[in-house]
């Protein structure tokens, strides 16, 4: 596995799941349209920062009743949610919509993440490059710079000496 492929694999792993929508995973129990609408609306009782799905106060109960009534009348989920927005404003939604200025809320963290990821890949590649002759010698990449490192075996030392001699003699 080359370094670049490994880096790409890491990036891919690190960004697992950015693509599919994750909101259904939060509550495995959000199966019915009623429950899904409840999770999309905040309870405005003022006693807590909870969704209608989780709040146990009387206000949440009355909102739940209204959702059930509207669904019973044949309204779609979107119509029910729209009716609540019309009455209480956008604040009743538990998450910003994915349109207009609100899209910034969703996109900014992802853009920042990928920009930072690209910057890291760039830095790592730069830091991975040998720096000048000294670095080259450390990596054993240059036969001309500096004395041979002490860790070489006797055999390697002889070989290296021969190569240097050949280079000097112009072979």
């Amino acid at each position: 596995m080359s370094g670049r492929r490994f880096g790409l694999a890491l990036l891919a792993l690190a960004s697992i799941g950015f693509l599919p929508p994750a909101h259904h995973a939060v509550f495995g129990a959000d199966q019915t349209p009623q429950q899904q609408i409840e999770s999309r609306l905040m309870c405005y009782c003022g006693c807590s920062d909870l969704t209608v799905r989780t709040c146990t106060c009387g206000v949440a109960a009355s909102i739940r009743d209204e959702i059930a009534e509207r669904l019973g009348r044949g309204e779609t989920s979107e119509q029910v949610v729209a009716a609540f927005i019309a009455r209480y404003g956008e604040k009743i939604l538990s998450a910003p919509t994915k349109q207009g200025f609100n899209l910034v809320a969703w996109v900014a963290p992802i853009v920042a993440f990928f920009v930072a990821a690209v910057a890291i890949v760039f830095l790592v590649r730069r830091w991975g490059r040998p720096h000048g002759a000294g670095a080259g010698a450390r990596r054993g990449g240059s036969a001309t710079g500096g004395p041979p490192p002490a860790t070489l075996t006797e055999e390697e030392r002889i070989l290296l000496g021969r190569i240097e001699r050949e280079i000097r003699e112009g072979h």
Partner: protein, 660 residues
Amino acid sequence: MADFGTLCLLIALTTCGWAILASCNGWRVQSGTLVLSAERAIHVTWALVTLGVISLEYCIHANQFDLEYVASYSNRTLPWLYKVAALWAGQSGSILFWLFILASYAALIVLLNRRRNRTLMPIVVTTLAAVELFFLLLVNFMTRPFVRLAVPPVDGGGMNPQLQNPFMAIHPPCLYLGYVGLTVPFAFAIAALVTGRLDNTWFRTTRRFTITSWFILGTGILLGGWWAYVELGWGGYWAWDPVENASLIPWLTCTAFLHSVMIEERKKMLRVWNLALVIMSFELAILGTFITRSGIISSVHSFTKSEVGPLFAGFLGISVLISVALLLHRLPLLRSEHRLDSFVSRESTFLFNNLLLVGAAFAVLWGTLFPILSEAVRGVKITVGPPFFNEMMIPITFGLVTLAGICPVIAWRRATPRKLLEKIQIPFWSLVGAAAALLIAGVRDVYALVSFSLCAFVIVTTVMEFVWGTRARQKVTGEAPGPAFWGLVDRNKRRYGGFVVHLAVMMILIGITGSSAFKQDATASLRRGESFSLGPYTMRFEAMTSREDPNFDFQGARLAVSRDGRAVGTLLPGQNFYKTRGQETSTEVAIRHSLREDLYLILISFDPQEGRVTLKAYLNPLINWIWIGGAMLILGSWLAMLPDLRDRRRDAEARLRDAA
């Protein structure tokens, strides 16, 4: 006593001011006497602030309702423990408490560094005292805890019933200890930048403090979750509300620092980044306090009405400016040779770990602050709630968990792909095996499948680290497995403490996944003798019971509970009706705990005329693994904090050098 407290806080202001002047000047003119005087002033300030705290506690316990604070947050029947906790129940008290913790940390730091880090200490003292001074200005002039009422009431209003829970009594101190603790690494970072002593000393000294603050903050967050779970009565433990987010954000940046500091230690790289992380964690802790104290999230307009909001914003702005200016000024000194031997190395996985952790902190911060931005730009109030944070955090968490699985098996500097593949084989097949087993068991939720399988991957990788290490030690020393294991852990507590923390986080993740993906709930309205079911449980309503306490009246519904037809006991969900505070109520949930799941019952309402109760039941699978993981997190952090043999040797060498 109130006047005494006021006086103490006023004198503390002057001693703290003196500490700043003396230590700063002492450093400038290299006067040991001045520096010593400043350090003594820190101790005196601590004593005075402590006396201030004792005065307020005395007033609370002596029911001095002529004080506005005591009248607002205590009453005659409030139990002793909650009277102690009343100190942090309101704004002015909690700022005084914050100041007390900071003063205690400062005094401790001065005490521990009497003979160590002498070049850094004057600036450390200046920085700590400067932060202290800000809070002293607040308690003396803005949020004064000893304000008297013109007409004192006969009895106080009492504490908010939801705060009357033993966990609430320890959760805020834990959070504060964590938050305020971040000031210490910050002070050392500033001192290193000011003095130009940017060698390894500052982070070695502060690493232990950072781990301490990190783990106390983490414990505070978990205790907050537990409190929400048992007291708030909505069946969950985390609602992504701004106050919770404010505590999570610095914890995430702190976690990033604890990882990236290892690269600095080994390779002298990322020095600017590590300093930036320490500074960021402190600023985010202040930002968190600002968010929770200014009311800015509920509305931009409440910010201007808030007494402390603009002051916090000012303090935050100034401290960020100074830190950034110092960092830029010292940039030439901080330049280090950045070299990575290979992309396939532990260093690079740590870089991605930092990316994810800081990315997570940014996403949470962004989501928390976005309502302000929206109101400012569009004039429309919006809510950024659980769906947003879940959608952001689930992928980031998966990425982090994957790295936690890969990282331990990748060597420092350069990992050979062959060796890596060899080492990762067993964990990888455990991942595949776990996924297959879950599929066969009928798990179809994609996120639960990914989460559990990744947890299996990390757990196996981590456990194998222990196994390999023990085997290697056995070969070298010829010890039996038990002693070899203890010897291994004892010699490298940081490494294996870190692994225990990783295992703990996996436990927590298993708990979070189980309790969110497979949560079930049911609501029922019952008469005596009627029953309702949820999952394998059946609950039969037997009778209403009541109990009187000096502070409140309790009304509860007794339910006989059976699991798969077998009786497992009775549960008593109820409500407390507080005698003061206008009959305010609090929900008293009843929970049947087990490792497999919790049955969680809430009494929503009862109608005495009809003899009918309305109940909500939740089934929270695997939730207790969160708290087990929490206990393990504490254990692992302790292990990592204990001094290693290597550390002890290094300390001894440093002492010898200093003596020479």
